[in-house]
Symmetry: C2
Subunit: 150 residues, 2 copies
DNA sequence: CATATTTAGTATGTATACATTCTAATTTCA
DNA sequence: TGAAATTAGAATGTATACATACTAAATATG
């Protein structure tokens, strides 16, 4: 049985993976905002745009599953992408409940222009790790997140 | 020079650490909500409560720095902790701008009662990794997050 | 075929997360 | 000491994130 310095100290909690993951998310978001400042895209908007560009006609529910979004969250993201003129939503002829998604030319252009910056985010995020560690880190992240693939 | 299957595919983006970290955060939050369902505490509320319990008289700005919170975010978290009767805020006699924070007896009791569940969250979160990998994963998370310690 | 169930997307409400702005209070320092 | 700069906390506005409930539409099934 391991012993700990303090059974319920702040030190304990800030050392926990839950806290460190929240911190990593903060760091990732901050770097993303810097690198994609010109594009004025969030990471969530970029990945949505990429999915839509890659699979025209995609519906919102499938999109949400593809990129692990809540069904309620994706609506707002699409609202913002549509408001910026990057994505269009049109009612499916075969099922009037469904909205088919498509990237506009402006959306495709912004996506292409933004990919180098997106790559750069990942480079900066993993810069503190050695190349071997980077592979390992990603592998472990996949393991941790795959576990609760509902 | 490595080659990739598709220069701007969804596959590329979902394999990026930024996306995986967002996913890890989702998994962490979901497990936390399950384990702390009785306490009705979010991870953010628990760590705030722990910091306040450990350092009575703490002010909100210092608290935000301790646990890496935005100054604007901490206000709402404290509102909710106060509304639940877990924390009290009182104007500092020495500086009327400052609100001194203190955990109530109910707050301290809930904190003590919640620590085992908080430990359990971390156990479940890291369950897909071997013991050696767990150490490594935490070490790398610390490296990544320490890099942008403003 | 008419009703029950399911499904897609939206709406509502709560909780982070953060930039920016504002007010009151304190500190600096000319 | 008195105006300028700084600081604490709150307020405002935007963007995830998610539970729950709602509406319209499609499907299943008796």
């Amino acid at each position: 049985m391991r012993t700990y310095p303090d059974p319920m100290s702040l030190t304990r909690l800030t050392a926990m993976p839950g806290h460190l993951i929240r911190r990593a998310q903060q760091v990732s978001t901050a770097i993303f905002a810097e690198e994609l400042a010109d594009a004025e895209l969030t990471s969530v908007q970029l990945i949505s745009l990429a999915a839509i560009a890659e699979r025209p006609g995609l519906d919102a529910t499938t999109l949400a599953e593809l990129i692990d979004f809540d069904k309620a969250t994706i609506g707002g993201v699409l609202d913002r992408l549509e408001r910026k003129g990057l994505v269009r939503r049109s009612v499916s002829p075969s099922d009037k409940r469904v909205k088919e998604l498509a990237a506009t030319p402006a959306g495709r252009a912004l996506l292409a222009a933004s990919m180098p910056a997106a790559e750069q985010v990942q480079v900066r995020l993993l810069a503190p790790l050695s190349p071997a560690e980077r592979e390992d880190f990603l592998r472990m992240l996949r393991l941790v997140t795959a576990a609760s693939q509902d």
